[in-house]
C-alpha cells in the first residue's frame, strides 16, 4: 500500500502541494485527476523520490520511501513518462531491456533481447521494431515502447504520467486498454495521472481529484458521476463555469 500523509511541496512562492493525504491499496488502480499545473506530476514524482517533499511522509508498505535501499525500492517500480522519455541513443529493444541488462541481477544480452521483444509484442509492436531507434517511431509507438519498458522487469507498482497526451482518440483508446489489461494481468498497483476522462473510465478502480494543493475528492470510479462535489462535476464535464477558474 502507498500512503501519503500531509505532503507539502512548494517551488519558490508557488505552493503546489499543501497537505496531500492519499492511500492506494495494493493491486488497485488509482487515477489522479486535476487541471494543468495542479501538481499531479509533482505528487507522482514525490512518491518516486524524483522530487523531495518539504514536509509530510510517504510510505510504501509502511516503510518511509526516503529511507532504506534506494535501488531495491526503485526496482519495485515501473514508470511510463508523458513523452515516453526513451533514450535516443539506444535502440528500441535496448530501451525496453535497460533495467534487465544492468544491476546485480543483469541478464545475458541475448536473453534480455528476447524478453524485450516479447514485451514489445505484448504492447502490439512487431519484433522488427526492436532494432529501430526511438526517433524512427511515431508518438503512439513511442508510448507503447515506454509501456513495454515500464513492465519489462515485472514491477509491483506502475506509474503512468499522462499516458494518452498527444495521441489521437483511437490510439489513446488502445493505450488505455493496454494499461488496463496489463495492470490486471500483472496484479500490479497502478497510479495514473491524467486529465483525460476516457482514460479515467478505462483505467481506474479509484479516482482522486487534486485541486488547490489537496485531494479535493476521492472514491471509486463508479461514484464519480454521482458525486455532488462542484469541482469534480465541473472537471469531468469540462465546463468553463464553476468554482475552478478557467484562467489560471
Amino acid at each position: 500500500m502507498i500512503e501519503l500523509h500531509d505532503v507539502h511541496k512548494r517551488f519558490g512562492e508557488n505552493c503546489v502541494l499543501q497537505g496531500v493525504n492519499l492511500s492506494i491499496a495494493s493491486g488497485t488502480s488509482m487515477v489522479i485527476i486535476g487541471g494543468s499545473g495542479t501538481g499531479k506530476s509533482v505528487l507522482l514524482k514525490s512518491v518516486l523520490g524524483l522530487v523531495r517533499p518539504d514536509s509530510g511522509t510517504i510510505t510504501l508498505d509502511g516503510q518511509d520511501v526516503t529511507k532504506g535501499d534506494r535501488d531495491a525500492f526503485l526496482a519495485r517500480f515501473g514508470m511510463l513518462f508523458q513523452g515516453g522519455a526513451l533514450f535516443d541513443s539506444l535502440r528500441v529493444w535496448e530501451n525496453v531491456a535497460f533495467r534487465l541488462v544492468r544491476g546485480p541481477k543483469a541478464l545475458p544480452k541475448a536473453q534480455a533481447r528476447e524478453i524485450a521483444i516479447e514485451k514489445l509484442r505484448r504492447v502490439g509492436l512487431k519484433p522488427e521494431t526492436a532494432d529501430l531507434f526511438p526517433a524512427e517511431l511515431s508518438g503512439g509507438m513511442q508510448k507503447r515502447v515506454g509501456l513495454a519498458r515500464a513492465i519489462a522487469a515485472q514491477p509491483e507498482i506502475i506509474f503512468f504520467d499522462e499516458p494518452t497526451t498527444g495521441l489521437d482518440p483511437i490510439m489513446a483508446g488502445v493505450i488505455n486498454d493496454l494499461i488496463r489489461e496489463i495492470v490486471t494481468e500483472m496484479g500490479a498497483t497502478a497510479m495514473t495521472i491524467t486529465h483525460d476522462m476516457s482514460s479515467v473510465r478505462a483505467i481506474a478502480d479509484n479516482v482522486a481529484m487534486l485541486h488547490g494543493g489537496v485531494i479535493r475528492w476521492s472514491g471509486p470510479v463508479s461514484d464519480l458521476d454521482a458525486t455532488e462535489d462542484p469541482y469534480v462535476q465541473q472537471f469531468i464535464h469540462g465546463r468553463a463555469e464553476g468554482p475552478i477558474a478557467a484562467i489560471r
Binding site: 534506494r70 526503485l74 514508470m79 513518462f81 522519455a85 535497460f98 544492468r102
Partner: protein
C-alpha cells in the same frame, strides 16, 4: 554611498562563490564515482569515439595552420636580430608547451562541451534523466563519469597528435617558404626539444579534457526547461570551459615553468 556600492557588489560575488561551490561539489561527485562500480564500459567506449576520435580532424587542422603561421611569425620576428635559425626550436617548444594543448583544448571545448551540454540538457528536459533514476541508474555515473574519463584520457592523445602535426606545419612552411634545409630543420627540432616540453603539454591536455567534459555535463544537468534553457546551457558550457582552460593554462604554466 559606499555601503550601497558594496551591497550591489555583494549579490553577484555571492552568486559567483555559490556557482564555484556547486561546480566543485559536482566535480567531487564525479571523481568519487570514477573508481566505484558499476562501470559503464560501453558508454566509455562510445565517449572515447565521440570525444577523441571524431575530434582528430579539427585538432589536426588547427595545429597545422597554427604551426605554419608560427614559423612565419618567428622567422619575421627573429630576422630583426639575425635569429632566423631559432624557427624550428621555437615552433616545437611553442606548439608542445602552449599552442598544442591550449588551442586543441579550446577547439575541443567548442566541439565537445557544446554537444555534451546539448545532449544532456535535452535528456533533462525530455525527462530521460528522470527515467534513468526510475530505472535504478545514477545519471551522474551513467552520463557524466564516462564522458569525463573519456575526455581526460583522449585529450593528451589529441594534444600529442596536434603537436606532431603543428611541428610538421612549421617544417612545411620552413622548407617551402623560408628556405630551410629539411634535415637541418628536423635535427634542430629534435635537438632542442626536451621531454618535459612534451610532457607538460600532455598534462595540460588531460586537465583541459577534464574541464571540457565537466563543464558540458554540469551545464547540461543543470539546464533550464525548453529549447531556450538547453541553448543557454550549451553557451554556458562552451564559455566556462574556454575561460577555465585559459585560467588553468596560466596556473599550470606557473607551476611547471616559473622557476
Amino acid at each position: 554611498m559606499i555601503e550601497a556600492t558594496l551591497g550591489s557588489l555583494g549579490r553577484p560575488v555571492l552568486q559567483a562563490v555559490a556557482a564555484v561551490g556547486r561546480v566543485a561539489l559536482f566535480a567531487a561527485a564525479v571523481l568519487g564515482h570514477i573508481l566505484r562500480p558499476p562501470f559503464y564500459l560501453r558508454e566509455l567506449g562510445s565517449s572515447l569515439l565521440q570525444i577523441g576520435w571524431y575530434s582528430l580532424p579539427v585538432v589536426g587542422l588547427t595545429a597545422i595552420f597554427t604551426g605554419g603561421a608560427l614559423a612565419l611569425q618567428i622567422y619575421a620576428g627573429g630576422s630583426r636580430f639575425n635569429a632566423e635559425s631559432v624557427v624550428p626550436s621555437i615552433v616545437a617548444i611553442g606548439m608542445t608547451r602552449e599552442l598544442g594543448p591550449v588551442l586543441g583544448g579550446l577547439m575541443v571545448a567548442a566541439r565537445v562541451a557544446s554537444s555534451i551540454a546539448a545532449e544532456i540538457g535535452t535528456m533533462k528536459v525530455t525527462e530521460q534523466i528522470d527515467a534513468l533514476v526510475t530505472l535504478s541508474t545514477n545519471p551522474l555515473k551513467y552520463l557524466a563519469v564516462p564522458r569525463v574519463v573519456a575526455a581526460t584520457l583522449s585529450m593528451p592523445i589529441l594534444v600529442a597528435v596536434g603537436d606532431a602535426i603543428g611541428i610538421m606545419g612549421g617544417w612545411l612552411v620552413g622548407i617551402t617558404r623560408l628556405d630551410f634545409n629539411s634535415a637541418a630543420y628536423l635535427k634542430n627540432t629534435v635537438d632542442f626539444l626536451e621531454g618535459w616540453d612534451i610532457g607538460s603539454g600532455l598534462v595540460k591536455g588531460a586537465v583541459f579534457g577534464f574541464i571540457v567534459a565537466l563543464m558540458g555535463c554540469y551545464h547540461g544537468m543543470n539546464s533550464a526547461r525548453g529549447a531556450q534553457g538547453v541553448g543557454a546551457a550549451t553557451k554556458a558550457a562552451v564559455v566556462s570551459a574556454s575561460v577555465l582552460i585559459l585560467a588553468a593554462n596560466y596556473i599550470l604554466t606557473e607551476v611547471f615553468f616559473s622557476s
